[in-house]
Point group: C2
Chain length 271, copies 2
């Protein structure tokens, strides 16, 4: 079945995304997105599952930029709901907790809640590391913020569920394989990146052309290009299913685009 | 002269942005963007200087979302080049450094460099805190990554300049005041946020209308709206200078928009 790479450690949300998209397959964690992409290119893993956007903290630009550089194709998307639990050694009363250990992003997503409860945030490189530390310390003053399954694996107890400031907090992952852009048989969504000449209305021209071909834009993000006043646009489009649907939208390259890259066509998962 | 609020601590890049945009004015640091916005609304500060996008890590969505909620107006923009220096107690040889302390974002921006040099990253809540810790510890094994001016204030020495993976790393700040959207006399850039009906081509229609009015898009970012398949778009536009230039672009609301909010018109700073 091969091996699937992700960024991070066992017990992380990324690890969960691998387990949900590739049950029973070996999951290999990498330290950093570059290392993960390099492993895919070298053939050490046959797929990657990487986060591409979070509803609270936004795009993962490092992944977008690596995708734009080519060599990998999106073959599927997957959403994981991010719901941090407060985890501590069994029997800990919530009032005994003084410090909450976690990844900076998780602590940021619960910043208001932590302040209201008087819990001091302590930064860890990852939620898995925070959970290990709390399990080792075995003190009721220290709790970890992270996915409940990771805490339970280390013998911790859930003191409180859903310790986040915003009710909706999901991360969208993409499944990648090496090689040129692929079009899944049931694909109804395509991801592209393109630049436009610097002239007023260039982007409007591209989007009008895509709309006229029946594509519906579900996401757009601009990034500054290599020279001043040039831009790259990352666009996700929903279209009629199947290879013909994708081709009808993408070929020939819509007027107004420069250097359009197709990042892959896959089945949309409704948020 | 009043007081200007920012998010963070003295010595941070945000603090620097206040000093550069409001020399000689009292700068008040807040813990979190919510606290800063609340102080502006309450009249405790007369302006805010907040980061809105970083070239490496992307949009500051928390600030975008608070702006979309209304009550504050962008009156200027400002760019700060983010160049982290390696700071240690005077006389430290680079080979003695084992650990590098800093804010997670700064460590992320230098991840590859740290790994190549064999320096272990240690997370702090902010660069100012990391610098204080290194100054207090006074051990050659501990260095901090942050702005050189903050290190020098604490008696640290610059061991190495520009310890970042990517050459261009700038943060764009906006200056905010309370109240309805303002149009500076020399404004040639406007920020707007709007939603569109869910129909193919709605965004293209809006952008074509803006282009026909002479506006040139310099940034676009989509955010999911409150209901599935609705979107909000944050757009920055460059146009003819002055209130007439802004009005010609924004009035009446371009066809295809729903709930357009004008976030302010101000003088563009070329990146």
């Amino acid at each position: 079945m091969g091996r699937v790479g992700y960024q991070g450690e066992p017990g992380s949300y990324s690890h969960r995304a691998v387990a949900e998209t590739h049950p029973g397959t070996a999951a290999i964690g990498f330290d950093g997105f570059d290392a993960a992409f390099d492993a895919l290119t070298a053939g050490d893993v046959h797929r990657l599952v990487l986060p591409i956007e979070n509803s609270t903290t936004g795009s993962v630009l490092e992944v977008l930029d690596r995708l734009a550089a080519g060599g990998a194709s999106i073959i599927a998307e997957h959403r994981v709901e991010v719901r941090h639990a407060l985890l501590a050694v069994p029997g800990t009363p919530p009032s005994a907790v003084e410090r909450v250990h976690s990844h900076p992003e998780a602590l940021a997503q619960a910043r208001r809640t932590l302040r209201e409860r008087g819990w001091q945030p302590v930064l860890s490189h990852d939620t898995a590391g925070a959970i290990r530390l709390v399990a080792e310390r075995s003190s009721p003053a220290d709790a970890a913020l992270g996915p409940h399954w990771a805490g339970e694996e280390h013998g911790l107890e859930v003191l409180e569920r859903d310790v986040v400031d915003l009710a909706h907090n999901t991360t969208r992952f993409v499944v990648l394989q090496a090689g040129p852009p692929s079009i899944a048989p049931d694909a109804d969504k395509s991801s592209i990146v393109f630049s436009t000449r610097h002239q007023p209305g260039a982007l409007a021209e591209v989007l009008a052309s895509l709309a006229a071909r029946g594509a519906d834009l579900t996401r757009i993000e601009s990034r500054p290009g290599p020279t001043p006043w040039t831009y790259r646009f990352f666009v996700d489009l929903v279209h009629f299913p199947g290879p013909h649907g994708a081709a009808a939208v993408l070929e020939p390259a819509p007027g107004g685009t420069l250097e359009l890259s197709h990042l892959g066509s896959y089945r949309a998962v409704v948020r």
